[in-house]
C-alpha cells in the first residue's frame, strides 16, 4: 500500500534531516578517539568479536549512534580487530516512527490472542500493524534516512578505532526494491563490501524482498571475508561457493525468529564451517519488537581439527536472550595448513559433473 500522504512525506523529510551525516558525525566526534593507523595484522592471531545485541527501539538516531559506538568501543577495548553486528540491525530504528510503541503493544496483544485461540505459545509472525501496511513498507519508507545514517555511523566508528566492522544487515531500498544487505567497513572508514541476502525466509519472500544472485568475497588485511546472511547458512552450497571463492572467514549476521533450542540453533553456521573449512562468526539479534521475538547465541566457530576442544567452537556467549559478546583469535595460517593437508576432505569431480547442476533442475518451486 502507498504509505505516502503529505504527513508521511513531511515526517520522512524530518527523518532524513535528523539522520543527516553531518549531524551524526558531529555528534560522534565529541566522543571518538582520533583516527589512527591500524596495527599490521598477524594472520596467526586475528582477534574478532561477535556481538549479541538485545533489541531496543531508539527514537533518536543520535541515541542509536551512541549505542553502536558503545558496542564497538567494548569490542575494541578487548582488542578486537573485526567486529560483527547482527542481522536486521535497523529494527532498532523503527523507534523513530511515532506511535511505534502503541503498534508494538497491539502486535503483542494480537499475538497473545492468537496464541490463546490456537492453544500454543504462538510464533512471531505478526506483520506490521496499521491497515495492510507491512514491515517492508516501513523499511522502504525509512530507507532514505537509514542508509546515510548507517554509513555515517560505521564509517566513523571503523576509522576512529581502526577496525573492520561488519555493521550487520539492513533492509534498504535499492533501485526501487528492498534488499537485506550486510555492510563491511574498513579502518579507513570506507565501505569495502556488501552482500545482499540470497536465501530469504518465506516471510521475507512474502514482503517481496529482492534476493541476491551471487556471493561476494573481500580480500582484507584480516583475511578474505564473506558475509552470507542468516538463512544463507542453512544451505551447504553457500559455504562451498564461498570456500571456492577463497573466503577464509564467514561473517554471519542472524536474527532467528524461534524459541531457543540448542539443536535448532546448531543447524546453521556450525555444520557449514565443518563442511567447508572456513572460520565462522555468528552475530545475533535477540529480544522482542513488534510481535517478533528473536533468540540466538553469538559465537565464533572453526573446523573441529583446529579448535582446542575439537568441538568446532572457539567462543560462544551463554545467554540466548540478552546482550553479550564473544571474542576469539583466529589463526589463518592454521586454517591454510589444515586445508592443504586435510585428513578427510575429498573432491569427486566425476560425481559432481554427473549430477551438478542438473540435479537442481527438478526442484519444484
Amino acid at each position: 500500500m502507498s504509505i505516502m500522504g503529505w504527513k508521511e512525506k513531511l515526517f520522512q523529510r524530518y527523518m532524513i534531516w535528523a539522520c543527516r551525516p553531518s549531524r551524526i558525525t558531529k555528534h560522534l566526534s565529541a566522543f571518538l578517539p582520533r583516527p589512527r593507523q591500524p596495527e599490521p595484522a598477524d594472520r596467526r592471531q586475528i582477534k574478532v568479536a561477535a556481538l549479541q545485541i538485545e533489541l531496543k527501539l531508539f527514537k533518536n538516531p543520535l541515541q542509536y549512534a551512541d549505542e553502536m559506538h558503545r558496542l564497538v568501543r567494548e569490542a575494541a577495548d578487548q582488542g578486537a580487530q573485526l567486529v560483527v553486528f547482527p542481522e536486521y540491525n535497523n529494527l532498532a530504528l523503527l523507534g523513530m516512527l511515532p506511535g511505534i510503541e502503541k503498534m508494538e503493544k497491539e502486535a503483542f496483544r494480537e499475538k497473545g490472542a492468537r496464541a490463546d485461540k490456537e492453544g500454543k505459545g504462538g510464533g512471531a509472525s505478526v506483520q506490521g500493524r496499521g491497515d495492510d501496511l507491512s514491515l517492508a513498507d516501513l523499511f522502504r519508507y525509512m530507507s532514505p534516512a537509514v542508509k546515510p545514517l548507517v554509513h555515517a555511523i560505521f564509517s566513523q566508528l571503523a576509522s576512529a578505532y581502526s577496525l573492520h566492522i561488519m555493521a550487520g544487515s539492513y533492509t534498504l531500498e535499492e533501485k526501487g526494491e528492498i534488499v537485506n544487505r550486510a555492510l563491511l567497513y574498513g579502518p579507513s572508514g570506507d565501505l569495502i563490501g556488501s552482500q545482499d541476502k540470497v536465501h530469504l525466509l518465506p516471510m521475507e519472500a512474502g514482503w517481496n524482498l529482492k534476493k541476491a544472485a551471487s556471493f561476494n568475497v573481500y580480500e582484507t588485511p584480516l583475511g578474505c571475508l564473506a558475509m552470507p546472511v542468516c538463512m544463507d547458512a542453512t544451505y551447504y552450497e553457500t559455504f562451498r561457493i564461498l570456500e571456492k571463492s577463497g573466503a577464509e572467514i564467514a561473517l554471519l549476521p542472524i536474527a532467528n525468529l524461534e524459541e531457543y533450542n540448542y539443536w535448532l540453533a546448531l543447524r546453521g553456521i556450525w555444520p557449514r564451517v565443518q563442511e567447508s573449512q572456513v572460520y565462522g562468526i555468528k552475530s545475533a539479534l535477540v529480544g522482542s519488537v513488534a510481535g517478533f521475538t528473536f533468540t540466538g547465541r553469538a559465537g565464533i566457530f572453526a573446523p573441529l581439527e583446529i579448535t582446542p576442544g575439537q568441538n568446532g567452537v572457539l567462543a560462544e556467549v551463554e545467554p540466548f536472550d540478552r546482550e553479550a559478546i564473544a571474542l576469539a583469535k583466529l589463526n589463518l595460517e592454521a586454517l591454510d595448513q589444515l586445508r592443504r593437508n586435510h585428513p578427510w576432505r575429498d573432491y569427486n569431480q566425476a560425481l559432481y559433473k554427473r549430477y551438478f547442476p542438473e540435479i537442481y533442475e527438478g526442484i519444484d518451486h
Partner: protein, 294 residues
Amino acid sequence: MRVAALTLAGIKLKSIDQYQADLDYLLKASGNDLVVLPAYSSLLLGLETGAITYYNDFDSTLRGYLAQNEDWHNLFLNLHSSLAAEFGIYLVCGTTVEKPIGKNDGKLADFFYQTAYCFNPDGELCCRQRQTHLTHDERELGFSRGEELNIFTAGDLQVGLVVGNDARHPEVGRIFALRGADLLLHSGAFKSGLNCWPQAAGMWAQVQQNQCWAVEAQLSANIAGRKFGASPAVIGPCEITPGQSGYIARGYPESPIVTAELDNQARQSIKKKYPLLRMLIPHVYSALQGSRNR
C-alpha cells in the same frame, strides 16, 4: 518402518555360526524391517573367523586384505543375503572391498572400492554403493572413488546408502535428497576417542539440511590395534524428534544396537511446512560445478 543400527559390539565373531546366532538373537528380539551394519564389517568378521590374515597393524592388515582373492568377499555377501532372507528384512551388510570384474576379459580389476551392499527381504541384492569420497589414508591405500549414487525402494521409502567418509560430504546427501531419497543408511567407522562432533558434522548435518531420515551404524571394535567406536543413531529433522535434538534414538559406542520407528507422515508434514529443498536457488549454484579451484 522399524529400523536398526548395529555396532557389532558384543557380537561373537569367532565363527560364522556364532555370528549368525548373535545377530539372530539381536534382530529377532527387536523386530526390525531394516538393519544397517557398520563399515569394515567384512574385514572384522574375516579376521576373527580366520578367513583373513592379521598383520602387525591396521594398515598392514588392510593391505593384506586388499591383496586377497575374492573368496571371502563372495562368502561374506552370500552370508548376508541368506540372513536378509532368513530374517525377512532389508539388510545393509556394512562394507567390503569390491574389485570390479572387467567387462571384456572377466578378470578382476587391479583397482578397488570400499562398497556397501543392501539385500532385500528375499535375499536379493537391491543396492550396491561405492564410497565416493576418500580420506587421505584411503587414497594412500589405493582405493578408487565411486561415481554414482544409487537409490532403491524399501517399502514406501526411497533409500540411499552412505559409505564411510561420504557422510562428511554434503554433496552426497543433497544429491540423494534431490533424487528423492527419504532415508539414508550409513555404514561408518570412526577411530575411538573422538567426541560426538565429527558425527554431528556428518549424518546429523546431512539430515537437517535435507529433511530426510538416516540410520547411522558405527563400528565398535579393535582391528589390529586400531580402535573404532562411535555412537549408533537414528536421525531425523529436529522438529519431529524428542527435545528437537535430531536424534530419534542414539546409543553409546558400546551399545550393540539402537532401534527406532520412522514416522514418515511427521517428516512429510515438516517438509510441507518448511520446504527447505524447494527454497534452493539453482542459478546461484552454477559456481559449484567442477568443485573448488585449488
